[in-house]
Each structure stands twice: as structure tokens, then as C-alpha cells.
Amino acid sequence: MSLDELIRACAQEGDAAAWEEFVHRFHELIAGVVLRTTRRCGSNSATLIQDLIQETYLKICADPKRLLAEFTPQYPEAFYGYLKVVTSNVVLDYFRSQRSRKRGSGRSESSIDEVITFSEPTGTRDAEQSVHLEILMKEIDGILRASLDAEGQERDLEIFWLYYRYGLSAAAIARLPSISLTVKGVESVLQRLKQVLCERLARSGVG
């Protein structure tokens, strides 16, 4: 059964066999997102993961109209994206509500950074180090801007900062919609910019 036919059978006919096929086909995708988001929120409980997987499926089937609306046969990737977003929101909403229950506020408006855990910082920075880093960042930005052609400059700088400052992998950057590069392409940009910096910083003695 094609994806197109499967979505129709689920959303328009409410057919149990079709839904079973749907669960089977998207299980790895949904379970993968639930697993990663739950871990990000600080839990490894298999029971909780199982409950959240079930909740995700029930949320999806509760709005068959939406399921149809989100699916465009020409762009199946967007449908996978939709399923991932629904799944991660189910998990985040669960942890938000847990958090607000703990705080007793009754509101589930915690921001994402309050429920997910980030990797530990390598060490705290004092004011002097922060100022030094601020200057270094400006210097790096200036060198790169001066060395890059206007065309594609902004994109290359975005790649640089997303990779070195915020730790996105080259693969994650390549998947972002406006980047339009393969993983190799992103790696090549990073190598090129690093080379520029290396030459310029060595000459000016910065660092």
C-alpha cells in the first residue's frame, strides 16, 4: 500500500487494519523521537516512553482531518516532519505539565529550555574571560566577513557559528532548509573558513 493510500484509508475510512499498518510503518520514527526527547528531558523510563508513544498515536488519530491536510503526496518528507513535530510536542507538553504540577502553578507554559537538559558547560567563565571571548568573536566575525565574497557570506557565517558556537553537527546543518548543501559541502565550508582564520590569526597573533 502506498503512503498516499495508507493515509486515505486511515483518515477517511478509520480502518483498523490501515491504522495497524500506520503504527507499524511509523513506529521507528515516532519511538525514536519519543526516546530522544524523553532523554533530553531527563528520563529513561521505558514505561513512560511506552505511554508517550501511545499518546502520540492517539493524538494523531484524534484529528483525521489534520492528518489529511498535512499530507501532500508530492512532499512526503513534510509529512514525516509533521509526525516528528507532533511527537516531540506530546513529550514536551508532558514534561511541561509535570514541571508546572511540581511548581503548583497549574500553568503549562514552561519554555523548552526549562524542561530539556543541555550538556554540562565545560566550566564557568568569569567576567574577564567573557570579555575576552566577546572580543575574539568580533575579531573572528570581522576576519571572516572581510575574507568571504558577498555571495553566500551570510550562509557561510551561519554555518560557522552554528557549528563552532552552538555545536550543531555538519549533518544537522546540512538538513536545515535554507542551507542547500550536502554534509560534505558543509564540512568543506567549515574547513575553508578555518583555514582563513588560521592564516589570519597566526599572522595577527590573536589568541
Partner: protein, 420 residues
């Protein structure tokens, strides 16, 4: 394969020896051979020292924990949608520009991109395999529940139109190219030359007539927008202000379904404007200015989703246009009022705030944006920010009827803030 001892270090070797992350190509990893070469070659030794110094500096730049959110930060849902590939290229461009310089949004984008990673690792696959959810009996039971739930929904709601199938489209027929025929072939010189010119001249004349007709009959955009502004003043279905509209008291609460409105009850200005926009869009279906006007009408008619879609399209054509940014903020604000899910509601208010922040970051005294942002802050229960915006607004506009309303709202906000 051992490396040539005389060969200078390749970029890959420099990256590897300077301790750069694994994700950047590692290339030839004859580490010992490369290290020996770096020790004996002055040029490569110096290069490696520079690389190591730079690498240490770059490592220090890393931000792993999200800093506090700033008013200009887009809603956090943005990063989840972006990492899942649901943002348009135009939207993504704007958002990435922000994320690459924001210590709040950058780490969240990283977390979102890790969550949305399409590759399932072996370790994750193993964990998933151990869950009871992979068992056929579990999946069957869940599928039965899902079937019941979706069937109930289908009975409750009217039938939805079928989605277009990729197989529905028949094979495209290619029109056969007919060889050009000339009835005048073999005629005398005068006739053939006359014929050579008469057709292009005739076509040009027809084009001129059509152009003049269209120019004369294409309705004026500014007068159409004036009609919409008048209709807004008469209707004013939500607190947020439209640009260029006179004051009008709030008539009804948002959330009224669009089906419950009758076109007969709509002001005549709205009907006239809608007719003009319809004419213009037939001729220029992609014109972002007319799409924006249509979106304004849809907002007055309670069709907020349709308005958002049109404005997003218009915004992608005129990304720096402040009027579209303000309209988009109004559309998200209005749609928030109809959302049942708290997270969706908050997300819409945050989107509205994002666009208003964008306008006000360039022009802090933009009165309509300030007025509207105060309202959005109020909805998000950010009373201190709302009060600050009302104060700023009253400083710019101390005496209009909008100002009276702003003063009343500021008093209410202060009370809410105290009782909180």
C-alpha cells in the same frame, strides 16, 4: 598505507592532529607519520601550532546551555519546526540568521536538531526493540483504539475532500507541432509585405487596448485598503489595531466561528473592497499587495488561518515590509484567540510577538505595533512588559481615542499585575 615522510600535512591531518571534532573529515590517519613530519618540517610545525591555538579558542567559544530568552527571540516552537524541515526556505533564512547569533535560540536549535535526527542509532534501535510497543499484539490493540477514535471523529465532522493522489494525474499529452502555413505564399510583393506588417501591428494595437482597459479598470489598492480600514472601524472584532484605521469600539469577542457570520451583516465597505480585490486577484493572482489586502478582509471575517497563509506568502515576497509584519502579527494574535490547545495558543501569541518585536526593533515609536504588542503581552500575562508598552504608547499618542483605550487598558493591566 604509510604516508610519504616528505609530504606536507594535508588539511585533514592538520584538523586531526589539532584535535578537531570527529565529524569533520579525518582523512589519512597515519598519526605517527604526520606527527614526525610536523616535528621536522618548520612550515608544517608552525601551521600545526596555529591550528592548535585556533582550535583551543574555538572550543572556548562553545555555548552549551541556553541563555535567557530575549524579546526578539522567535517562539521556541520555531526551532522544532525548523529542525523537522517544516519551515519554508525564506522563513528558515530569517530564523537561522537569528539562531547563529543567539545564545538562547542556538542551543535550543541544536537540541531540536538532535531530537529530529532522521538517523536512528544502533543503540536507540536496540532500546526501541526492547519496548512492548514493537509487539504485534500491542500494535493491534492500539490500532483498534485509533480506528474507533478516528471513526468517532469522522462521524462528528462533515466529510473532508479527498486528497489528490499522485496517480490521479493522467499522462500529459504533448500537442503536435503543426508546420507553419502561409496562405500568402506566392502572392505579389504588395500583398505579402502588407501582410508581414499588419499582423504585428494589429497584435500591438490589441495589446495596447487590453493594457489601457486593465489600467483603467484595475481598482486602486490604496482606496481599497481605505475601505477595509473603514470596515475595521465599524466592525473591530478584536482588540489589535489595523494600520490606517480610525478608532472603533470593540464589537465582539474573538473565537466566534466564521460560519456564524452572515455576509449580509458585513459593512458595505467590506463587500466593496472584497469585490475589488477579487477583480485584482483574477488579473494578478500572486500580487503580494492584493494578497495582503485579502488577508485583512479575512481577518475581519474571522478566517484567521487563511489570513496567516496569505500573509506568510506576501511576507516572503516583501520580507522587509513593516505593514506585512504588523498584519502577520495581528493574524497570529487573532488566530491565538481561536486555539483550543494552550500550547498552540501560546505559540501563536509568541509568533505575533516575534513580528511586532521585529517592527519595533527598527522603529521603536511605531504606534500601531506598540499598541498591539501591549495587547499581546497582556494575553501572555507579561504585565510589566504590557505596562511599559502602554506607557511608551501614551507618550507618543497622548490624546486620541486610541490613547483613552490605552490608558484604560494600562490601569487594568496594573490591577492584574498587583493581584497576580
Amino acid at each position: 598505507m604509510t604516508r610519504d615522510p616528505q609530504a606536507h600535512l594535508s588539511p585533514e591531518e592538520l584538523a586531526f592532529l589539532s584535535g578537531e571534532r570527529e565529524s569533520v573529515s579525518s582523512g589519512d590517519r597515519d598519526r605517527q607519520g604526520a606527527e614526525v613530519h610536523a616535528e621536522t618540517c618548520t612550515l608544517c610545525g608552525s601551521r600545526l601550532r596555529s591550528h592548535r591555538l585556533l582550535q583551543a579558542n574555538l572550543r572556548n567559544l562553545a555555548v552549551t546551555v541556553a541563555a535567557d530568552q530575549k524579546p526578539v527571540c522567535p517562539p521556541e516552537q520555531t526551532w522544532i519546526d525548523l529542525a523537522a524541515g517544516l519551515s519554508s526556505v525564506i522563513e528558515a533564512r530569517t530564523f537561522l540568521e537569528h539562531a547563529s547569533h543567539c545564545d538562547h535560540c542556538g542551543p535550543i536549535l541544536r537540541a531540536a536538531s538532535e531530537i529530529m535526527n532522521p538517523e536512528v542509532s544502533d543503540e536507540e534501535r536496540e532500546l526501541i526493540r526492547k519496548l512492548p510497543t514493537v509487539e504485534t499484539t500491542w500494535q493491534r490493540r492500539l490500532a483498534e483504539k485509533m480506528a474507533r477514535s478516528s471513526a468517532e471523529q469522522l462521524h462528528r465532522e462533515p466529510a473532508t475532500p479527498a486528497i489528490p493522489s499522485t496517480t490521479d494525474e493522467g499522462p500529459k499529452t504533448v500537442a503536435e507541432k503543426k508546420p507553419p502555413t502561409s496562405a500568402l505564399m506566392g502572392s505579389n510583393w504588395l500583398i505579402s509585405n502588407w501582410a508581414r506588417w499588419i499582423f504585428p501591428l494589429g497584435a500591438a494595437a490589441v495589446a495596447c487596448v487590453v493594457f489601457l482597459y486593465m489600467w483603467y479598470f484595475t481598482p486602486s489598492l490604496s482606496s481599497t485598503n481605505q475601505l477595509i480600514a473603514q470596515a475595521y472601524t465599524e466592525l473591530r472584532p478584536f482588540e489589535a489595531r489595523f494600520m490606517g484605521a480610525e478608532y472603533g469600539p470593540l464589537r465582539e469577542q474573538r473565537g466566534e466561528s466564521e460560519q456564524s457570520r452572515s455576509r449580509m451583516a458585513e459593512p458595505v465597505e467590506l463587500l466593496q473592497a472584497d469585490e475589488r480585490i477579487g477583480q485584482a486577484l483574477i488579473r494578478h493572482p500572486q500580487d503580494s499587495r492584493w494578497l495582503q489586502s485579502k488577508a485583512r478582509i479575512e481577518m475581519l471575517e474571522g478566517k484567521y488561518q487563511a489570513a496567516v497563509e496569505k500573509l506568510v506568502k506576501a511576507q516572503s515576497a516583501r520580507s522587509q515590509d513593516v505593514t506585512i509584519q504588523i498584519d502577520l502579527a495581528i493574524a497570529y494574535y487573532a488566530r491565538a484567540g481561536t486555539q483550543r490547545d494552550t500550547a498552540d495558543k501560546t505559540s501563536d501569541y509568541q509568533r505575533s510577538l516575534h513580528w511586532l518585536n521585529m517592527v519595533l526593533s527598527k522603529n521603536p515609536d511605531e504606534a500601531v505595533a506598540l499598541f498591539n504588542r501591549a495587547i499581546v503581552h497582556k494575553e501572555l500575562k507579561q504585565y510589566a512588559e504590557a505596562t511599559s508598552d502602554w506607557q511608551h504608547y501614551l507618550h507618543i499618542d497622548p490624546s486620541s481615542r486610541w490613547a483613552d483605550e490605552a490608558a484604560r487598558e494600562m490601569q487594568k493591566t496594573n490591577k492584574n499585575s498587583e493581584t497576580r
